[in-house]
């Protein structure tokens, strides 16, 4: 009797598990972040953060800059080479303040497998913009953060100001 009960339980479990797989599908292919990041992006929202005020819990920590300067003029195109790898980029700044100190160059991830930032470079200059959230790429939004750092009295590197840039993908 016991053997029959166990057998029924095992059969039920297998049936339920296979049901789950059929219903929800597998984990599927990983997102191709390079492909998701490539394309033309329009700057939509800019937030400035006073990191010193945040650290010290002072008032006046954030300022929305979007409408204070013509940031929404700015578009950025990230290209891929023939093999689908990151290659050149260009920024059409319009009248917006610069967010990258050069208008064209090369782009790359800091880590191709687990990207945490995009590195923009031109000659011996480079600027790193960190990903605020990779998930936003799935809905055609690119959210990057630029932070400026200084070393404090204890020798620690600390951000004193940062910017959050939210881009929207320009779909053809």
């Amino acid at each position: 009797m016991k053997i029959i009960s166990y057998s029924i339980a095992v059969i039920l479990m297998i049936t339920l598990m296979s049901g789950c797989i059929e219903e929800f599908g597998g984990v599927g292919e990983p997102f191709n972040r390079t492909e998701q990041v490539s394309g033309t992006w329009k700057l939509n929202v800019v937030q400035q953060v006073d990191e010193l005020a945040v650290e010290r819990n002072w008032p006046y920590q954030r300022l929305n800059l979007t409408n204070l300067f013509p940031y929404q003029d700015l578009t950025m195109t990230l290209n891929l080479d023939d093999s689908g790898n990151p290659s050149g980029f260009s920024v059409n700044q319009g009248n917006a303040p610069a967010i990258i100190p050069f208008e064209a160059g090369q782009w790359a991830f800091d880590d191709q497998e687990f990207p945490g930032a995009i590195i923009f470079s031109s000659g011996d200059q480079s600027t790193t913009l960190e990903f605020e959230s990779l998930n936003e790429l799935n809905v055609n939004r690119l959210v990057l953060k630029l932070a400026r750092y200084q070393t404090d009295a204890q020798g620690k590197k600390k951000a004193f100001v940062s910017y959050n840039y939210e881009f929207v993908k320009q779909l053809n």
Binding site: Q48, E51, W58, L65, P97, Q150, F160
Partner: protein
């Protein structure tokens, strides 16, 4: 009119002072940033100041703008007749470089709140005022504040570079000046100093001369409501500087359109450091 004349005279004095003093001393601190409670070493290089470089000893004249002098070591001494020996600087291994180590709360015998966010200093000969170039112009160090104090002026963010968006705020309810209290149109007179690509002093670089402020729409502040006025700028784009110039400090003064009303006093408490990152 009287205020206008006084203001013009004060700018002329600033220009005259630049002409008489050596403005080419360069300086740094270790650590680069510090609070009033941290020990800090100030390094001054007077290679660009031949008169000071030729002196056997260099002395520090140090003060908190609008606040105490170095009471913790017995004061600065007499500027023209002899500095306090406790403020003698130490030569380093580098030619024409001198250092002085201090902790602000101890040196000034003052609290962090009394010291605030700025320390002024002048590297000088023991007894200055004897010849042109035996002292520098006023130089300033930024002190990291430990507490937030609401004031009539504020810059956002607290620290910035010439590439950052900077917002200057005027909190009208906090002003004690009767003329400024009732203004509805507020303007800013502003200037910077710094060095060019060769390290030469840029002097006093105005966004617009005092008498042209009202004709410069970019200098009119926005009223955000509740008596808070703001002006947004990116230093490297806002001031007439050349590529390669380094802006080291912003000075500003809130005023009326005609200039008859203005925040009284000089720029001691109306200035902000511009960081130049390596």
């Amino acid at each position: 009119m009287k205020k206008y004349i006084l203001t013009v005279i004060s700018f002329l004095v600033v220009g005259f002072t630049y002409a008489q003093n050596c403005g080419s001393a360069t300086f740094r601190t270790e650590p680069a940033t510090f609070t009033a409670e941290d020990q800090v070493t100030l390094f001054v290089d007077v290679s660009g100041c031949p008169v000071l470089a030729a002196k056997p000893d260099l002395y520090l004249w140090i003060f908190v703008p609008g606040g105490p002098g170095p009471d913790g070591v017995g004061g600065n001494g007499d500027f023209c007749n002899g500095s306090n020996p406790n403020l003698k600087m130490t030569p380093t291994d580098n030619a024409n470089e001198y250092s002085y180590t201090f902790t602000p709360v101890a040196l000034f015998d003052a609290t962090p709140a009394e010291i605030g966010t700025s320390i002024g200093f002048i590297p000088k000969a023991f007894a200055a005022c004897k010849e042109a170039g035996d002292q520098t112009s006023d130089l300033f160090l930024s002190v990291e504040p430990l507490v937030f104090v609401e004031k009539v002026n504020r810059s956002f963010p607290n620290k910035f570079t010439a590439d950052d968006v900077v917002t200057l705020y005027f909190h009208q309810p906090l002003t004690e000046d009767e003329g400024m209290k009732s203004l509805t149109d507020v303007y800013v007179y502003t200037a910077i100093n710094g060095t060019d690509a060769d390290g030469n002093d840029l002097g006093w670089v105005e966004r617009a001369p005092w008498d042209q402020v009202v004709n410069t729409p970019e200098l009119k502040m926005n009223h955000e409501g509740n008596g808070v006025y703001s002006l947004h700028l990116v230093p490297k784009d806002f001031y007439p500087v050349n590529p390669g110039d380094k802006i080291t400090r912003i000075f500003y003064k809130f005023r009326s359109a005609d200039g008859n009303s203005a925040i009284p006093g000089g720029f001691d408490n109306f200035q902000a450091e511009v960081l130049n990152l390596e």
